[in-house]
Point group: C2
Amino acid sequence: MRRLDLGILMLVCGAAVATLGSAESPNERKELDGFERFVSADGALTFDPAAIQDLVHIGSWFVPEGGAAGFHGVYTQRQALEAYRETGVFPDGAVLVKELRAHKRGDYTTGANVASAGGIGQWFLLIKDSGGRFPEHPLWGNGWGWGLFKPDAPSLNLATSYQADCLGCHAPAAQTGWIYVDAYPALHE
Amino acid sequence: MRRLDLGILMLVCGAAVATLGSAESPNERKELDGFERFVSADGALTFDPAAIQDLVHIGSWFVPEGGAAGFHGVYTQRQALEAYRETGVFPDGAVLVKELRAHKRGDYTTGANVASAGGIGQWFLLIKDSGGRFPEHPLWGNGWGWGLFKPDAPSLNLATSYQADCLGCHAPAAQTGWIYVDAYPALHE
């Protein structure tokens, strides 16, 4: 093949491959390679409820009573799960989402007083930040970016200070990177 | 470009695209377009524990006591979830997995006596079968293929008759295609 034709071939192949890469059918899983979709240039965190379907489920909590009652489902990127399984820590850029849902109870063939999930209450968002991207930002610190979002305004981070709003609940998990990793068996399988 | 070169171009592009399509990095999400990975030519069902990570989580149960105590997480293909949201029924080839996990309880900052998940007990597998692929097979009927698997031998279907082994627990959901769809809020969002 002549050099010119080879050049054209490479260009056309490149275009074909690029087109395939960006073509997104409604049934196609999206890649979630990083945290960029959740973070603006100045470090503000936002949330996209559809993001859950781009993540894998690594575990659930059931809280029977109190203000946090219901199901707490926890999700991360597939890549982050695989990295954790290899290294025992979440990689930089790992995204953790905890989705809180109401619950209802009923008797089923599986048992009495069985709980199942209802509507979404809120989401917690964590972005692993090993290098300290936003050292002055009040929602970035202790190795993570921290966010809290509700369904009526998922782009608004309701947390304003990770130290005041977030650390209290995570303090007992300080020794495992502020995450209750023992509750997520998928990390260890 | 000469016709021969165009032919070569198309062949090479095709090969390049095919190579891209089959190249699988460890961090790449696999597509799960159908049920084929779970069904052999004669209708036998098998299970692959890694399949969970190719599915999306559509809901969880928490059973507090009894033989089925623990978390029951339910998963389907992303495509099946999207089809259900559009049509209100699972499409032919939809895969539903229910993963049963043990649970432990503890007091956390989210509440007292909070349950979190432990090891895997077993998986239930359903393959939507609108047309009746295996009319004589004892594990195919009522619009589904039915399976039960345990971690020590996930390729062995422990159910031998869907009528004897499976329908009893699903009978209360007969009016909704044998699935407790009300317990999976993600289907309706």
